[in-house]
C-alpha cells in the first residue's frame, strides 16, 4: 500500500505518524518526500532560505532506528518542521533574513529547537522572513520576495511568510514562526493556514533573535488547529534560560479540542467591521458567526475602544525595543563586517550597508523616541496607551470568553504594492498588534476565500494562558468547514 509523493505530503501529522507505525513509510522516506517538494516548489515561491538535508536524514534515521529497536519515539517522531530563520539552529545558518547575519551559524539550538528534536521531530529547513521580523509582506531586500502560492503575484504576508508558504505548499506539515505585531497570524491569514501567537511567556524566547523583547513570541503554524496544538505541546513551557518565560507548566493543548462550544460567549466588535475592511472579509466574519451560533455559542456585541491608538503605540514601542536589540549588530562579532580605518566608521558602514531600508527606518524611529527629551512624549506615552489597551481586553474578556474578528482588513495585496508606503503597510496591522501589546494569545484560521481566490483569515483572541480555548474553537469551526483543507493549484 504505497503512497505517491503527492498523497504523502498532503497527510496531516496523525497520518504521517500512522504511516510509520504501520510500517508503510519510514521517517527517512517521509523526510525525503518533503525535501523533494521543497526542491520542486521553492524556485517559484522562495519560501526556504536553507536546508541541511544530511542532518535531517540523520535525525530521521535515528527515529527509525529507535522505533525498530522498540525504544520510545516522541510525539512528533519523524515529522518534518520548517523553522523561521530568526530561530537559532546549531550548525545551520540563522540569518534573521538579514545581510548582516547572512553567514551566521549559531553554536547552539534555541530551546524550541531542542524540544522539537527531543520529540523526534526533524528540522527540515530554515524559512524566509522579513528582515529581523520587521514587515508584513516578506518582500525582503536581501533575499527577495516570498510568493503567495494562491497567486504568485501576491505577497505571502510576513514576517513569517516563508513558514506560512512552506505549510500551505506542502513543503512541511508543521512550521515555527514568530509574532511581534502579527507576524504569525497575518501570513497565516494570507496563505490560508492556522497560526497561533501564544500568551507572552508561554514559549521560551531563548535562541530567538530578538526584535522587540516585550512583544516577541515564537508560535506554531500548520494547516489545522489539531496540528497546531500538537506543535504547541512540544514547544511550550517554562525555561530557566528565558527569564521572561511564565512560571507555569504548559497545558495539554490537545485535551480540550473536542469540548462543545455550547454556552461559550463570543464577542464581536462591530466597529472593527467598518470602513477599510474589505466587504468579502466582513462576509467571512458574518458567516463564521453563523457557524459558531450553530455550535451553541452566544454572540455578544463588545468593544475595544482604544484600538484606534494601537498601531501608533505599537510603532513606537516595537521600534524602541528594536533599536536596543539591534545595537549589537556592529560588525564586531557576527560574521558580517564592512572594513574601515577606525572603529566608529566600521560600526556605521557595516550597519548602514547591511541593514535594509525598513530596519533602518525602525532603528531611527526607536532611537529618536527613546532619546533624551523625547522619551516621555513617545515611549512612555505609548506604554501608557499599552496599559489602556490591556484594560480594554481585561474588561471585554470579563463579559465574553473569546473575541472574533478578521485577522487583516484585506486579503493578500500584490508584491510591490505597499513596499514604498510604510505607513499603509503599518495600518494593515490594526487587528493584530493589540494582542502583542496586551500579551494575550490569538489564533488565525482560514475563514473563506475572496472571489479572486485569495484566502481570508479569521482571528480569535482569548484571556492569557487560554490557548486551549482558542484551539478548541478553531478546531470546532474546522469540523464544520473545509477552508483549511484547500490546496493551491
Amino acid at each position: 500500500m504505497k503512497l505517491n509523493l503527492d498523497e504523502l505530503i498532503n497527510l496531516d501529522v496523525r497520518g504521517l505518524l500512522k504511516l510509520q507505525e504501520q510500517g508503510i513509510a519510514s521517517a527517512v522516506e517521509i523526510v525525503g518526500s518533503f525535501h523533494k517538494q521543497i526542491e520542486q516548489e521553492n524556485d517559484s515561491l522562495n519560501a526556504i532560505l536553507a536546508t541541511d538535508f544530511d542532518s535531517a536524514i540523520q535525525q530521521a534515521r535515528q527515529v527509525d532506528e529507535n522505533r525498530a529497536a522498540g525504544k520510545a519515539v516522541g510525539s512528533l517522531a519523524g515529522i518534518p518542521v520548517v523553522v523561521k530563520d530568526c530561530i537559532c539552529t546549531q550548525g545551520i545558518t540563522s540569518t534573521a533574513g538579514s545581510k548582516i547575519l547572512e553567514r551566521f551559524v549559531p553554536p547552539y539550538d534555541a530551546t524550541v529547537v531542542e524540544r522539537l528534536k527531543a520529540s523526534g521531530a526533524v528540522i527540515l529547513a530554515k524559512s524566509h522572513m522579513d528582515e529581523f521580523a520587521m514587515g508584513g509582506s516578506n518582500e525582503n531586500p536581501h533575499f527577495g520576495a516570498v510568493h503567495n502560492p494562491w497567486n504568485h503575484d501576491c505577497v505571502s504576508g510576513g514576517s513569517s511568510g516563508g513558514s506560512a508558504v512552506a505549510v500551505v505548499a506542502r513543503m512541511s506539515p508543521l512550521a515555527l514562526g514568530s509574532d511581534t505585531g502579527g507576524s504569525i497570524r497575518q501570513p497565516a491569514a494570507f496563505c490560508g493556514i492556522t497560526g497561533l501567537k501564544p500568551t507572552y511567556g508561554r514559549v521560551s524566547r531563548f535562541g530567538l533573535i530578538a526584535f522587540a523583547s516585550s512583544l516577541d513570541q515564537i508560535g506554531p503554524m500548520a494547516r489545522s488547529a489539531v496540528d497546531v496544538a500538537r506543535l504547541a505541546n512540544v514547544i511550550s513551557g517554562p525555561d530557566k534560560r528565558d527569564s521572561t518565560s511564565a512560571n507555569r507548566a504548559a497545558a495539554d493543548f490537545s485535551a480540550e479540542l473536542e469540548t462543545s462550544l455550547a454556552g461559550k460567549r463570543i464577542g464581536i466588535c462591530t466597529d472593527h467591521l467598518g470602513k477599510g475592511v474589505a466587504a468579502q472579509v466582513v462576509d467571512a466574519v458574518n458567516q463564521a458567526v453563523a457557524v459558531f451560533e450553530s455550535l451553541g455559542a452566544e454572540i455578544v456585541e463588545t468593544g475595544l475602544p482604544h484600538t484606534k491608538y494601537a498601531v501608533a503605540a505599537y510603532y513606537l514601542i516595537a521600534p524602541c525595543e528594536a533599536s536596543s536589540n539591534l545595537a549589537r549588530y556592529d560588525g564586531v562579532r557576527y560574521t558580517t563586517r564592512v572594513d574601515a580605518a577606525d572603529l566608529g566608521h566600521m560600526y556605521g558602514r557595516t550597519r548602514a550597508q547591511c541593514f535594509g531600508a525598513e530596519v533602518k527606518r525602525r532603528i531611527m524611529l526607536g532611537t529618536f523616541a527613546l532619546s533624551s527629551g523625547y522619551y516621555d512624549q513617545f515611549y512612555l506615552q505609548a506604554s501608557k496607551v499599552r496599559r489602556l489597551i490591556k484594560q480594554d481586553y481585561d474588561k471585554a474578556l470579563e463579559r465574553v470568553d473569546l473575541i472574533l474578528g478578521p485577522t487583516t482588513p484585506t486579503a493578500a495585496f500584490r508584491i510591490g504594492e505597499l513596499i514604498d508606503d510604510p505607513l499603509s503597510m503599518y495600518l494593515a496591522d490594526v487587528f493584530t498588534v493589540s494582542a502583542n501589546l496586551a500579551g494575550i494569545p490569538a489564533i488565525s484560521f482560514p475563514g473563506g476565500f475572496t472571489d479572486g481566490g485569495l484566502p481570508i483569515g479569521l482571528q480569535l483572541q482569548a484571556r492569557s494562558f487560554e490557548e486551549s480555548l482558542l484551539l478548541n474553537a478553531a478546531h470546532q469551526f474546522q469540523l464544520q468547514t473545509d477552508w483549511h483543507q484547500r490546496r493551491p493549484a
Binding site: 547552539y108 527569564s243 541593514f355 532603528i363 506615552q381
Partner: protein, 98 residues
C-alpha cells in the same frame, strides 16, 4: 514641545544609531520619519496623566540563580562567527584610526 517637524533630525539620530547614511538616504528618511512621527504622535491626543505605563507582563523581576559555573561555549565556538580574530579576542580597527 514644538511640532515634530522641527525636532526630528535624521542626521543627529543617524549618528546616535551608528548608521553612516548618505545625504540622499538621510533626506529620504527625514521625509518618511516626519510622516510616521506625525502619525504616531496621535497618542498624545489622549490625557494619560492618570495612567500607569505597562511594559509587558512578566512573572518575576530580575530572577537570579546560584552563582555556580555552568558549562558554556568554548572559546573556539564563541569565536567561530568572528569577522576577524587573533584566536583569543575579536579584532577590530583602532578607535582613533591608523
Amino acid at each position: 514641545m514644538t511640532e515634530s517637524q522641527d525636532r526630528f533630525s535624521a542626521e543627529k539620530v543617524a549618528r546616535l544609531a551608528r548608521l553612516d547614511l548618505s545625504a540622499d538616504d538621510l533626506k529620504q528618511l527625514q521625509g518618511e520619519l516626519d510622516r510616521i512621527l506625525d502619525f504616531v504622535n496621535e497618542i498624545n491626543e489622549l490625557d494619560l496623566s492618570q495612567v500607569e505605563p505597562f511594559f509587558g507582563a512578566v512573572d518575576s523581576i530580575n530572577p537570579i540563580r546560584e552563582d555556580q559555573v555552568q558549562p558554556g561555549l568554548t572559546r573556539e565556538q564563541a569565536l567561530a562567527n568572528a569577522p576577524d580574530s587573533d584566536g583569543e579576542f575579536y579584532r577590530v580597527p583602532p578607535v582613533f584610526g591608523n
